[in-house]
Symmetry: C2
Subunit: 440 residues, 2 copies
């Protein structure tokens, strides 16, 4: 690449919506781009819960970053894990000690789960951020039904058939709806000792209503849809303790072996190494051009960025990340041309949360509310539209059509460590963290 060796070097950390969009928006810019991700694939996060719900396969919602940018000759993809950034040296340092110099840095490493100072809860209540998370949740949910089928003691059986989802944001609502549908539709007539329809799905929300970020009217619609699916929705429910055999709500103790975490997120730790002010969740407080104080060449986008526009924070959603990615790319080009940068402006195209088959709520733009079947169709169209990769779109449409008409779940596989039966809740939960593969 000696011919382009003189061009300014743009390093992008993270191949999510923001990072990938920035890279593509710079395809004609006179720059060398290095796109760094610790995973080899771009993940279509909004559909991740469908993998957890055994409806889609990982490959349906993930595409290798290399193949996305294969034809963009000014991009080099690096599978590596960034550990810290040194803004004064203009260097990214990787976990293996290697370093990479940059002229411009776009940090788009996103967020991970937050257990509100209770990291010990994670092993009992996995969150949903990666494909591994989704497969682990899928494994636990399916294994719970298997364990219940083998359990003779009614009380223990009931505990296995109790699913608790903590947090009623979009992910929590989608998980709750999906698990309720698995129990009531997909698994029916497959078991002989239990009736999957007896499963209890409990959705816990600390605030007074589900989908707190949505208009109250839609929260109400979503709650009704969930209860219609048989989900036990509990608002203002504060979890005081989580164990692998129960969840504690103050004095109430819910016996369960399957707890899923959809409550909090916190920014990826690399933000701290920037040495600039962060918000409570560890997000970087960025300037209107999305750069960090004192370093216009360092830009932060996506879930990692905290930007207030007219007193309202730009939400941590895919459309925002895409817009920010495109915006910083434009500003880098402007800077290279000696032009002033433009401030970022978020255009809220709306958002949807699906509750299940035929059921969703959302808004078009920031105003027009939508619910029921119409919202569900809108949700599908939007998600298919934004799904990267022709093949994925077709496949996902195919899966959904299949799912819609058959109520079946295409990907109901129990794989990974702990895919073979273990006994007692504790062991079963241990499975995921055991060493070695069970088949050998």
């Amino acid at each position: 690449m000696s011919t382009v060796a003189e061009l300014p070097h743009v390093v992008i950390l993270g191949g999510g919506f923001g990072g990938l969009k920035a890279a593509r928006a710079l395809r004609r810019a006179p720059v060398r781009i290095t796109l760094v991700d610790r995973r080899n694939h771009h993940l279509f996060q909004p559909l991740l819960y469908q993998v957890a719900a055994a409806a889609l396969s990982p490959a349906d919602i993930a595409v290798p970053i290399r193949s996305v940018v294969r034809r963009q000759r000014n991009v080099r993809v690096l599978l590596a894990e960034a550990q810290s950034v040194d803004p004064t040296r203009k260097q990214v340092v990787f976990t293996d000690g290697e370093a990479l110099d940059y002229d411009f840095l776009i940090v788009a490493t996103g967020a991970t789960h937050s257990y509100f100072g209770h990291p010990e809860w994670e092993s009992s209540a996995p969150g949903l951020k990666t494909i591994e998370d989704a497969l682990e949740i899928r494994r636990r949910v399916l294994m719970a039904f298997e364990a219940a089928e083998r359990e003779s003691d009614p009380e223990r059986q009931r505990a296995w058939l109790t699913f608790v989802i903590i947090g009623a944001g979009p992910t929590g609502v989608e998980l709750a709806g999906a698990i309720a549908e698995i129990a009531r539709q997909s698994l029916v007539s497959e078991f002989r000792n239990i009736d999957p329809r007896c499963a209890r799905v409990i959705l816990l929300e600390g605030l007074p209503r589900v989908l707190p970020a949505y208009p109250p009217k839609l929260s109400e619609k979503a709650r009704r849809e969930l209860e219609d699916l048989g989900v036990d929705v509990r608002n203002e429910a504060r979890v005081t303790s989580v164990d692998r055999d129960w969840v504690l709500l103050g004095t109430e103790r819910i016996a369960t072996h399957t707890v899923l975490w959809a409550a909090g997120v916190e920014a990826s730790p690399i933000a701290r190494s920037l040495g600039v002010p962060l918000d409570k969740a560890g997000r970087v407080l960025v300037a209107p051009d999305l750069s960090i104080p004192g370093h216009p060449e360092v830009l932060v986008i996506g879930d990692l960025a905290h930007y207030d526009e007219d007193g309202k924070m730009v939400p941590g959603v895919a459309p925002a990340a895409l817009q920010e990615g495109r915006h910083v790319a434009k500003n880098i080009v402007r800077t290279l041309c000696g032009q002033p940068r433009a401030p970022f402006h978020y255009v809220d195209k709306g958002s949807f949360a699906t509750v299940g088959r035929n059921r969703a709520v959302g808004t078009i733009g920031s105003r027009i509310p939508l619910w029921g079947f119409l919202a569900w169709v809108a949700w599908i169209v939007v998600h298919i539209f934004y799904l990267i990769g022709f093949r994925n779109r077709l496949l996902v449409m195919f899966h959904w059509a299949y799912l819609y008409f058959t109520f079946k779940r295409g990907s109901r596989l129990i794989t990974g460590d702990g895919a073979v039966p273990l006994h007692g809740a504790s062991e079963a939960q241990e499975g995921a963290r055991e060493e070695g593969r069970p088949d050998h």
Copy 2:
């Protein structure tokens, strides 16, 4: 199930081709069936290498056993791992200590890899029997290219780009061909520092020819096809040692970090508990009705059974397992009707091994040889035809059509432990066995 409680109890160990076929063949028989498997899914083994080769997703070739038999009311599915059989007590004992009584027992637990007395080789040279195996092989192959891309030292780079497959039976041939195609077609133009086409794929066979079970003419065809794909085929190559950084052939040392095992199989250990004569590979030497000596109620089928017909052993292939499953089901019914049992007769419908796109070899029946494009089409038709589950057939056809016209690989995801970069061959190989998930 009290109404049917009086019916004879048929316990089937293993939900593979043989066990599942036996269960389905007994759907109208006056029996209670318990189908036991330690995995929740039936696996279409012949296509497993396609998952390892990143062409198919696990869900495309696996289907939950429960959903296969959901409408067959006389079957109960038990997700459990059988540890031993007590023929005198007519009992199966599970790993958790629980026991299950039977009137008839069909043992169809199949086979696993054999490292010819070198179990220590397994960590460096994984075999291909389960979905986890396939995903692990996929991860190692893709990670090798990523590591090579990051490696500056030419010699180390070469080691990362060297893939050694041990054993040139159908699985070895299929893996070698698939990896050669990934390197020469799928990954082209995705890397900037390496040319994937420089990858070396070495196929080692101890015997004088590849596909030793096939007619010499077809072995020759297969070898040519493989070499045409750039595979380095070495016959009469005896591996004396396998390490995570090299393979030793007598005095020759091949530097590689990706070794795949396709050499030997041995019967599942449960055979030993039957207390009857076994062959060298641990298979049960069965009578013409596929029962074991002294226990006509215990029937052994599939890869676990060793049955010689006119001095020739029935091969460990899916069609044989299916035929044996159907046969023992019929014999059980005959026994219940007080009729004599019929001896098993294997009908060789032929078999195929695919070498890659447009390339396969095989025979129709035991005689008519077939090769090239024609054999490849025949192979696809046969495999689609036998693939269980309507959805899977459509999906797999879709994947293949896509693959055929684009040369792309649909499922090129690096997931699981070790999906994030680690350094040095040893670490990278360690990845698979590390504890915990890298994303948290």
